[in-house]
Assembly symmetry: C2
Amino acid sequence: MNTATEKPLVLITAGPTREAIDPVRYISNHSSGKMGYAIATAFLEAGYPVVLVSGPVNLTLTNPNLTTINVNSADEMFAACKAYFASAKIAVFAAAVADYKPAEIYINKMKKSASEFDLKMVKNVDIAYEFGQVKTNDQVAVGFALETNDEEQNALKKLYKKNFDLIVLNSTQDSGATFGFDTNKITIINKDFVFRALPLKSKAELGRDIAQAAIKLVKTNTDKTINQTQLT
Amino acid sequence: MNTATEKPLVLITAGPTREAIDPVRYISNHSSGKMGYAIATAFLEAGYPVVLVSGPVNLTLTNPNLTTINVNSADEMFAACKAYFASAKIAVFAAAVADYKPAEIYINKMKKSASEFDLKMVKNVDIAYEFGQVKTNDQVAVGFALETNDEEQNALKKLYKKNFDLIVLNSTQDSGATFGFDTNKITIINKDFVFRALPLKSKAELGRDIAQAAIKLVKTNTDKTINQTQLT
């Protein structure tokens, strides 16, 4: 009864990344992974096989059609995604990947002596951007924007720059939304800059909304391909 | 049946701290809080009232004799401890407090533009040191050392500098020990620099060993006080 074999592979990243400073310290962020896991659940319910590349979270998901790869750093996440991206029809970049990482990882725990110091930070790999560069026309990429200011403008810039087909805008301004909460308030924006603002809902419901929006685009792509085939 | 009212208060810190960089990013460490919570459990089992000041962990402990105060940053942990330290006879500083915090917390999420930048870090409050300065003779303080190199020498320096009565040395060199594991391998060192190396045990058992070592010192202190009273 493996209906999933007929459906295309979905690659999803979720959770935060942890960027090591030394063997005990790291830089991370407040992502709980709930939104990414909810999207994975929605695709699994719809019969899609899913590869979930997850940063450190307190969530577990088991399903015969699910492969979970646990990672810590952005570099590890990127490496894990590379192995699956080409086979995936839909990629959802829901992880809150650290933008920067310490330039150097100290092998021994740093001793504290100076009253202050500068932690040199260098830009991390931009996973969604990298895959946006190699994405083919029959692949659908969904990204996320979490903005504290100039929300819509920043989200549109990100959609364009990273070659997303859809971008999900989270606002930190809404109460009951984003990090740690079980509910969220999002706006789904497509490549035609059409905004679809959804009411405050559970992350489970929003996971279904996002999955369905991506599935619809894959179907449209497929239809286009068929039409072109008929034309030639 | 509140036997705890006859026993003195125990103040315990546990878990990591989180030092905010901006509304979404933070610096933390791999402390799971398991050791601190195990020590709290041991004191509660022995009938002591406990105030547990805990950084963000995935553990819960409930007991009628327990007050738990949840904090994020070192500054918050220090403030919470201040309210209880004077009333406590035993203080166990088991938290992995961040040594440094970002000099500035950005109110809005930082935008990533520069390819690298320096994150200015300033020294955090040294909670155990601060209380070591005001500790009275009838208070017992227990500290922890997690060292990746020159373990014993660094532990002794810390015992002396922070005015601990006991220091628990964790080694990151032992497998099955420290962060995240349910077992640990520790050495308890007292003010006479007597080393008591314990075999690999569950954190629950080690919690009892550490609690009993501290309780023994409180009793010795009490005996001394009685002897001095008899002498005068």
